[in-house]
């Protein structure tokens, strides 16, 4: 088990920019904010896309214009595609991810605690996690389908298996990060080992667990879409797969846009949760 997980989890864009060593000379204009540069980049990309579609550089069968994709989104939302509306596809996908997340938390957090606090727990669960973690979930999806059929249970199981290791590893790292002084302070106030786990160790682990959830959601979301591409009555992956069968490229791109939008929303929501519930994590 890697002890450096917590540091690896921070993406480069999150790391604070290194301030310049010397003071910058007085400028006439304030510097352009990063957000403005990013917005400009996106606009240019979409502009190029429009241009390519409008000028006919690429056939509209392969690359429909952004407007056509918007129309496809509208069509999928109103009259549906592949026997279900866009909303129904989206809800089917979301319920799988959150079902699996709930299951992964219920199983993964206690396992993470066991790994961090007990030699026996570590001996039992560490090898299981280490074998499961590097395995691509799609490698064992066929096996899970053979065992549990093609229904919801096997999809949630596969997504849960993909989400489990990041949650377990993050929980174990968080539990280990509980400060010795805080544990000692609680003990010297009369806390039992159980009290220490409940009132000191678990709260200390929450920031790390939330980071684990963020990574798990990323892993789960990609596994889900891939699993739906293989077999599901409804879901965003299903919709894309069905659209690809009809060469309905606009629906395919519309589906990808929805998937990307949801992934970005997940990320934003979790950051909000972190700011709301563990504001101390970055300050002390």
């Amino acid at each position: 088990m890697s002890r450096t997980t917590a540091t690896v989890l921070v993406s480069p864009t999150e790391a604070a920019e290194v301030p310049p060593v010397t003071a910058a000379p007085a400028r006439r204009r304030p510097p352009l904010p990063v957000a403005a540069i990013s917005a400009a980049t996106l606009s240019i990309l979409v502009g190029l896309w429009s241009l390519a579609a409008w000028a006919g550089w690429v056939s509209s069968v392969f690359l429909p214009s952004p407007l056509a994709v918007l129309e496809a989104l509208d069509l999928a939302a109103r009259s549906g595609f592949a026997d279900a509306s866009l909303l129904q596809h989206t809800l089917a996908s979301l319920s799988r991810v959150f079902g699996a997340l709930l299951a992964a938390l219920l199983v993964g957090v206690p396992i993470g605690i066991a790994i961090a606090t007990s030699r026996i727990g570590r001996g039992i669960f560490d090898p299981i996690v280490e074998v499961l973690r590097p395995l691509p979930p799609l490698a064992y999806l066929p096996l899970v389908i053979i065992w549990f059929g093609i229904g919801e249970a096997s999809k949630i199981l596969v997504i849960g298996l993909a989400m489990g290791p990041p949650i377990i590893i993050a929980t174990a790292a968080g539990v280990r990060s509980a400060s010795t002084d805080r544990i000692r302070a609680a003990r010297s106030l009369g806390a039992s080992p159980r009290d220490v786990l409940r009132f000191v160790v678990m709260p200390s682990a929450v920031p790390s667990i939330l980071t684990g959830v963020r990574i798990a959601l990323g892993a789960g979301w990609s596994t889900l879409i891939a699993a739906e591409l293989i077999a599901a009555p409804r879901g965003l992956g299903t919709m894309i797969q069905a659209a690809a069968g009809f060469l309905a490229t606009d629906i395919v791109i519309a589906g990808i846009v929805v998937i990307a939008a949801i992934a970005i929303l997940f990320e934003a929501a979790l950051r909000r949760l972190e700011r709301r519930f563990v504001p101390w994590a970055t300050r002390l």
Binding site: D181, R182, A185, R187, S188, L189, G190, F199, P279
Partner: protein, 264 residues
């Protein structure tokens, strides 16, 4: 009636220290803290000051000798020996009030009473109305006072403080000296204060114990009464300028200096 370190030795096994011939951290050290006493312990870094506190708190077990509270052997930490840490060790996920209330909860007090008692304790350390504040909103001196209020909430008979003022600026530290004397007087607890400030040790303590290492041992145990004089109303400034205070301070400084020369 005392917190008694009775001939304690603290040595780590060779496997952990890495060297077979390394002397123990503390060797055959005896020290008794009576209720109502204020024992300051000074010494250079590495003289085993913090180890001494960890033994008294029950965080580590002695490899020889025993730690006793009123004759009973100490097996681990306990609420009658509350600890105040250098880096406050507060719980940042809880408000100032809930940090204090945590100690009351462990004593089995019901929720509503916890709240009022915690507020009263915060008021007693000069933090009335700061109960809802988050820990990171408080200054270093305020955090230390929350830590002391939390320790006092356990109604300890002994208060063990590990360089509690080490991280504070000089001006805050002087105000905290006067505050600590007030706490000592009101609580009636026996205090063990680990510090590297000679003047601080002398101004506050009823005894100043000088530790030298390694192996850590007591090389002096000097009675003092400057804190009592302050509590009787003499200004702190006058006490610190008193020739007797200056002489005592210089004697302690010489002692630590000479010992360092011999060790080197």
């Amino acid at each position: 009636m005392s917190l008694h370190l009775d001939g304690v030795t603290l040595a780590y096994p060779p496997a952990r220290s890495g060297r077979r011939d390394e002397p123990p951290v503390l060797r055959d050290l005896s020290l008794a803290i009576e209720p109502g006493a204020f024992v300051s312990v000074i010494g250079r870094s590495g003289s085993g000051k913090t180890s001494l506190l960890n033994l008294a708190a029950g965080f580590v077990a002695p490899s020889g000798g025993s730690v006793r509270v009123d004759g009973e052997r100490v097996e681990g930490p306990g609420a009658e020996r509350a600890v105040v840490f250098q880096d406050d060790a507060l719980f940042p996920w809880a408000s100032a009030r809930d940090n204090v209330a945590f100690a009351l909860r462990l004593r089995g007090l019901p929720g509503a009473e916890r709240r009022t008692r915690a507020e009263a304790l915060l008021a007693s350390v000069g933090l009335a109305g700061a109960g809802d504040k988050a820990i990171w909103e408080l200054s270093g001196g305020m955090r230390q006072r929350v830590g002391i209020a939390r320790a006092l909430a356990a109604e300890p008979r002994y208060l063990l403080m590990d360089e509690p003022l080490g991280a504070l600026d000089a001006m805050t530290r002087e105000r905290m000296h006067e505050f600590l004397l007030g706490i000592w007087q009101r609580s009636g607890a026996g205090i063990l204060l680990i510090t590297h400030g000679i003047e601080e040790a002398l101004f506050l303590g009823t005894r100043v114990v000088v530790l030298a290492g390694r192996p850590g041992r007591i090389i002096a145990d000097m009675p003092a009464s400057y804190g009592r004089r302050f509590l009787r109303g003499e200004p702190a400034r006058a006490i610190r300028a008193d020739p007797a205070f200056v002489a005592d301070r210089n004697a302690l400084a010489d002692m630590i200096h000479d010992e360092a020369e011999r060790a080197a």
